[in-house]
Symmetry: C2
Subunit: 188 residues, 2 copies
């Protein structure tokens, strides 16, 4: 017997379960039925809150993006000097072998073919790029150089995850970060 | 009617079709039946050459890795000075919006859960990392710094692909490369 629960709690459990499954195995490879089973809520709740898989995916990936942005901005908007904030963001501990819960979706054709879902990914990276560009400008760089360097910084994280997964070596991500930070540090 | 063809030609067509479909939509999301249809060979050929999807995937991803390594080493082993070889490799034109035909598989749980297939990915990145580490050592860097910088260089490419896909902006990859090369250049 599934314990009765109020509708908001059921929605939260569905979103939580979807976030974990999508992060672990991708959106395309995850059925709403699997999310339902992992959430422990009743089938009626699923169809009530999320009539289609698209609706569930937008809610779950959107929640993951919101969480990730909140965490990123705690570091990027701290009161430290500009370059220290970037380096603190780059050096933050990450579960390298799990891959990026957001970036991995760029390889999932089910996500890329869904305009509304892809927009959620786009918004995440556009916001981080804008924030990093602003910070690099604060270090005195011209706009175009700051923008390029922001792309490089974010690519280091995303690419570091790919290398760590591919080589099954969590240090591959930290090595990429060290390599990049070493170049940044000596520059300022 | 499928035109009769010799067995080696049928195998090649199966591998070619699998390489394209796996690169476009991932291994997990591609059925052997779809590869068969795209290849235009008879069903008997598929099961003769590749009794399981694992066999087909190892052959196809292995062929993609061999092609990519051959192309990379034409640049990395050229007679140019060390740093120029790395920069030429980083700046090579790439189809950013298509994503990396190899790196994308790190987000495909069907690949990551298959030891033999994952070993093919690992071998690709380990070889490139070793080559880049050697080249950075040739520029006079100590071993550990050269190794970190090799990870950063490869992460820039892989992460640049992720950013380009996520933002649907092919310039995101070239911006990441410019940002990294700008740091490298002023260093030597």
């Amino acid at each position: 017997m599934v314990t009765p629960m109020n509708t908001a709690a059921a929605r939260d459990r569905l979103v939580d379960a979807a976030q974990d499954l999508f992060a672990a195995q991708g959106v395309g490879a995850t059925s709403p039925r699997a999310v339902l089973a992992a959430s422990g809520v009743g089938q009626g709740s699923l169809y009530h809150h999320f009539p289609t898989k698209h609706d569930l995916a937008v809610a779950a990936v959107g929640a993951t993006v919101d969480d990730a942005l909140a965490r990123a901005f705690r570091t990027l908007d701290s009161g430290s000097p500009a370059l220290e904030r970037v380096i603190a963001y780059l050096e933050r501990p990450r579960d390298a072998l799990a891959g990026c819960r957001i970036g991995r979706h760029t390889a999932d054709q089910a996500v890329m073919d869904d305009d509304g879902l892809r927009d959620v990914l786009t918004a995440y990276f556009v916001r981080l790029l804008a924030a990093l560009t602003t910070i690099f400008r604060e270090t005195g760089l011209p706009d175009d150089v700051a923008r390029d360097r922001a792309h490089a910084a974010l690519a280091i994280i995303q690419g570091g995850y790919v290398l760590a997964r591919a080589t099954q070596d969590p240090d591959a991500l930290t090595a990429a970060v060290r390599g990049f930070v070493g170049l940044l540090d000596r520059h300022q």
